[in-house]
């Protein structure tokens, strides 16, 4: 990926920021760990999801954080449905 696309934050209230692979990697890894996946498996899944999301972003100059999360959830779903469930719903718990 040459230039990372801009991520438009939730509701457009906060300023946009460039896509950061490590941020996505960290959140997917945390979702896998929180459903008690082994650390190695969580790392592998986070790598695969990050790679797939980056290839999806290739042609896009900017995306919303909501779309990014939705796409990451869809990809995570195929590797670990339970982690995907928590990843998708983490803002809808309270």
């Amino acid at each position: 990926m040459n230039t990372p696309p801009d991520i438009i934050k939730r509701d457009g209230k906060r300023p946009t920021e460039s896509f950061k692979r490590e941020k996505l990697h960290h959140s997917v890894r945390a979702a896998c760990l929180s459903v008690r996946s082994p650390e190695g498996e969580a790392e592998t899944i986070a790598h695969k999801v990050s790679d797939a999301v980056i290839s999806w972003l290739e042609t896009k100059p900017e995306v919303t954080s909501h779309d990014l999360r939705r796409k990451a959830t869809d990809i995570l779903e195929s590797f670990h449905p339970e982690a995907a469930y928590l990843y998708k719903h983490h803002r809808l718990i309270i």
């Binding site: 929180s34 469930y85 719903h89």
Partner: protein, 240 residues
């Protein structure tokens, strides 16, 4: 009112309190962030214990404060008007729980304003010490006060009629029963259950929990109204 009836009402009010979900949601979030950050199991238990202690202490303080205020204002027997207001509160809140306790969206989003929900969620994420978890537990009770106030008021009105020793036991009973749902989640997390399954169960059953909480408030309100107002006034009119 005899001791058994009093304790039954206090226990039922506490069960209704236990069915409210804000503290459970916060405990789920707190545990999720802690497990996701590779926190050790002992530290996870310390954090969740701290949260549980915070909720317990704040519940006990609030119910004790309500009892104290009632005792100072009414002595041992509350006037009919106090019972009528408390029953009205229960009935009104019962309908309110049915109408908007959960938001009409996926997940277990509660009635809380989104700004406050985001703040609590962010606080749960950055909580690393048991003392912070304790504070979070305290604030979760305060945040849900609007709904738990009515069962606490009824428990308070019932408890002031008892001897001081029984009052203390009643407060302890209320606190322990109101913590039951949290204790169950705590035990499940502590024994290694997956958070996703706990959260999925909560989401699948949220409408039933909502119905049970609302119905519990209505039943309690109706029972107390009949027991404390209708029966008492009928007996008084009959010259008993």
């Amino acid at each position: 009112m005899d001791i058994i009836s009093s304790f039954a009402i206090v226990a039922f009010a506490a069960l209704i309190h236990a069915s409210f979900q804000l503290s459970v949601s916060m405990l789920t979030l707190l545990s999720g962030h802690a497990i996701g950050a590779k926190t050790s199991h002992n530290r996870l238990l310390r954090l969740t214990c701290g949260f549980l202690a915070g909720v317990g202490v704040m519940t006990m303080l609030t119910i004790s404060f309500i009892c104290l205020m009632f005792q100072k204002s009414f002595g041992e027997h509350a006037p009919y008007i106090a019972w009528a207001v408390a029953c009205g509160l229960l009935l009104g809140l019962g309908v309110a729980v049915w109408a908007f306790y959960y938001r009409r969206e996926k997940g277990t989003s509660l009635w809380l304003p989104r700004g406050l929900a985001r703040y609590l969620s962010d606080r749960a994420k950055v909580t690393k010490l048991s003392s912070e978890a304790f504070g979070l537990g305290l604030s979760s009770v305060v945040a849900e006060l609007i709904f738990i106030f009515a069962p606490m008021v009824i428990a308070g009105l019932v408890l002031i009629q008892l001897e001081p020793m029984w009052q203390l036991l009643g407060i302890a009973l209320y606190t322990v029963i109101s913590l039951l749902s949290l204790l169950i989640v705590y035990a499940l997390i502590g024994s290694g259950h997956r958070l996703s399954r706990i959260q999925k169960w909560r989401e699948d059953n949220k409408r039933f929990l909502q119905f049970a909480s609302g119905a519990g408030l209505l039943v309690l309100g109706f029972y107390v109204y009949v027991d404390q107002i209708v029966t008492a006034t009928t007996l008084a009119q009959g010259g008993f």
